[in-house]
Point group: C2
Chain length 563, copies 2
Amino acid sequence: MLRTDAFQARFETALAEIAAVVGPEHVVHASDEVEKRARDIIPRAYEPVAFVYPGSQADVVALVKLANRFDLPLWPVSKGKNWGYGGATPARQGALVMVLERLDRIVTVDSEMAYAVVEPGVTFRQLHRHLEDQRIPLWLDCTDGPADGSVMGNSLERGVGETDYGDHFGNICGLEVVLPDGLVARTGGGPFEGYKSWNTYKWGVGPYLEGLFSQGNYGIVTKMGVWLMPKPEYFLSCVFELHREEDFTALIDAMRRLQLGGAIKSKVHIVNDVVTFAVVAESKDILGGEKSLSDARRADLRKQFNIAPWSFAAGLYGTRAQVQANVAVIRRELGPLGKLQFIDDRKVDLIKTMTKALRKGAAFGPTRVVAERFSRRALGKPLAFLEMIPHVHAIEKGYPSDYFVKHAYYKSRRPKPADDDIDPGRDQCGLIWLGPMVPLNGREMTRVLDLVRPLYKKYSLDFTAALIIGNPRTVIALMSVFYDKQDADETRRAEELYFEMGEVTQRAGYQQYRTSTIYMDRILAPAPEFLELCNRIKRALDPRGILAPGKYGIDATPRAPEN
Amino acid sequence: MLRTDAFQARFETALAEIAAVVGPEHVVHASDEVEKRARDIIPRAYEPVAFVYPGSQADVVALVKLANRFDLPLWPVSKGKNWGYGGATPARQGALVMVLERLDRIVTVDSEMAYAVVEPGVTFRQLHRHLEDQRIPLWLDCTDGPADGSVMGNSLERGVGETDYGDHFGNICGLEVVLPDGLVARTGGGPFEGYKSWNTYKWGVGPYLEGLFSQGNYGIVTKMGVWLMPKPEYFLSCVFELHREEDFTALIDAMRRLQLGGAIKSKVHIVNDVVTFAVVAESKDILGGEKSLSDARRADLRKQFNIAPWSFAAGLYGTRAQVQANVAVIRRELGPLGKLQFIDDRKVDLIKTMTKALRKGAAFGPTRVVAERFSRRALGKPLAFLEMIPHVHAIEKGYPSDYFVKHAYYKSRRPKPADDDIDPGRDQCGLIWLGPMVPLNGREMTRVLDLVRPLYKKYSLDFTAALIIGNPRTVIALMSVFYDKQDADETRRAEELYFEMGEVTQRAGYQQYRTSTIYMDRILAPAPEFLELCNRIKRALDPRGILAPGKYGIDATPRAPEN
């Protein structure tokens, strides 16, 4: 965007009017403060001009009207914690970021019908606490991302969680939306108030339009229904470790059968060794002073930590008999391929007690070695790995925490902060994600890994993948590009790897399930007719293009070149 | 639409051009032929001006371009078997009905990933036969409607089937669409060809737009992916009969728990006594010469036929242990409320053999009485009821048939035709459906029944309901209005009951899940902001309003008054 004087004057008038709407304390445009709030962990990002924090739906309506008058591009985010995809940054230079975190009411929880209605600022932690505090026997589904992330933001960006309710977009029902001209509508085709099935029947009547507001730029959602899981009678978590890399294809095919047959319905993340290293160990202990892992060191670390090439956790929910029937199918399918463990609440308590005692002992110099040795010899795993188990168990029950976010520090030069002080943006971690969608079948999945593995080698970065089962027929092959943000060359290589990996997989037919703000202009390039359809709708609903221009490449007018 | 001479001349030119595109043999405009093809079973309908049968996607593209040139409203249908909702008739007088039944290829069946890609003309019967003939171990989900109905048509109208895959819109994935200006696009945001997850990942990337083409008028779908169920290792059907009307609320609440907990995932239809009477008996035997059922006669018939006030069938799929674990939960929840029967393939064969033998005996005059008596005494049910069991069992396995369509003949003056000759349109049956969405909870469901029951009484028509569990939180309370189409007064009363029942339930907050062509102008009235959003999109995608004007009340321009 060209910063002419005329622009500057207009922008300042707009800011003054915005301050009059939301209160001056809720507008931030000092450049250092803007920079701090815009920090994400991707290699580069577009810069916002200011941050604004509306306090109500009425504020949001006023802001879009104002944006239309001033031709001011708004970039709405719920909490702005979209780490690894661009955080709170826009898809084009110069947008004004509208953070909706002050709209943070839990509007309804219907414990009988098992859903909640939330505003954009409601976080996983907040909703979870509310259910606990009110003793409502419902479990939410959270992600392994930040506990202070927005339930709505993640759902609309089509994030995937952990449990049977992990398809977050699939489990939302009923949206209230501020359209780009300020009209407030609800989806579902029923009356605005008193529509009995607004939050129970996803498709409503008439065209199903909620999809427009997911990965789109057609409106600002201010209320959202989300389905919750009734607390099951019985629960087990299941941990699997693949013995031999050669059985990877067989594992993927077994997972498809388990998912299609319903024995595992939770949104399994099959992670490779580096993901596990990055969660349980400090960077220096993994890399040993090098910039990346050699094959030999990687193999050595696997042995040293006793970590499998691929492993996953799953949650099993139901009556005891239902869960046991599923356990039997899982044993039949996966038993021959690796190590299976089923963990109940009692067992988790035991692990917690034991690891706490060992950790206490380890605090005293020489005992550390003894404790670690005991853990490895008697229990087969390093202490840090055992300490991970209760977190795995908890997340399958919908307990949000920042525990798993720690792995963003893999290439960071500073040691990991305490579990309650994780902030990859503040700490300038380096991580960007690329998630191609792959049919859940061993042949296809192997093909995609064969495409990306050599690229990681080419750029001297460590191949890191979490294969997230998005539905019984699809795996989201989430590739992490970890890099050292303080190393300019590595940052450049990370970006190159990211884009090349995106192009290579797209060209082979594996489109991404979601993308970062710096990929959005390319993401729909393979689908020009689809993009044309999106743009036609954009022109109809937002003719001045004030709402999130460039989101997923969608624009009201052909894009002006950037400066 | 005013039929001026100018209109007539333009229309004739258009028809000649259409004939040049599709071949004259695929254009029907003789009024008697048009009338015959437009016949549905609802009390009145809008009249099409002609029928056209394109033979390819290219024909469809040519036709929409032509329609734009001639300002000719097109009303696309797949097979036109949308019985009880308007069949092949449009939502406005004078549209040209485009029947897509010549596009009838099964494009793909992927037996590993468990999906098919079909064109609009592919029927449930055709897809089922294909799977059987090719010995593909996949089961489809069909409806209890016509076997020659379109898989695509039913899915896009958001029909609900029978099995765990019964949410038909929820189980489609990947559409190819002709937009109103002739642009051909695919949903999902991937490349047109070679997009690996097109038919496996429902949400694709970018805004999720498939919902636009469901109960909408934004495009003509020419290809559709549909997920199929891998043949399970074990299958049981389950039949439940409620003992006491007083336990109805408890039944509905139990069903919610069973659905939320996953013990029953199939799309259960809880039907009242009249539905069962209408399936198993001839009209004259039910009504006994009267125009409608008195309470006393109704009670007497229940006793005579030994039919419960409410009953349902469900399908249970999985390994034997998974099914048995679900059976245990079902017994616990429903055992106290009524009679439960679990039926496997062996038991069904036995029933078939026995009923066939009894029926054979019954052919000989006096033996009929003996056979019927044996059936009732020894087996507890009339012979016709026992004969229904194998059909119930089969439909839960995805066997399409017209068996259940027979109940449309309830008020017909002619006896039911043979099972392979059912045609309610041809036979001038009278039936219109109204399906309010109700949260799946006993209190709400009872409230809705309390609203509609007195209305049936008011219009002297028989209260008939199938409560279809659309998802674990919602029941579609499908009210049937049966009437005698040869009785003008009763036809008028049927229409009045239909509209009053619609208004009363809408006003109470129970919007319909789908509606008939004669209700479409009213259906979105309670949601003016939503309708405005729909209309804005309509203007963008179809500025001349040539595609299905008035579908779900959506129009490019404010509606001209009708003549």
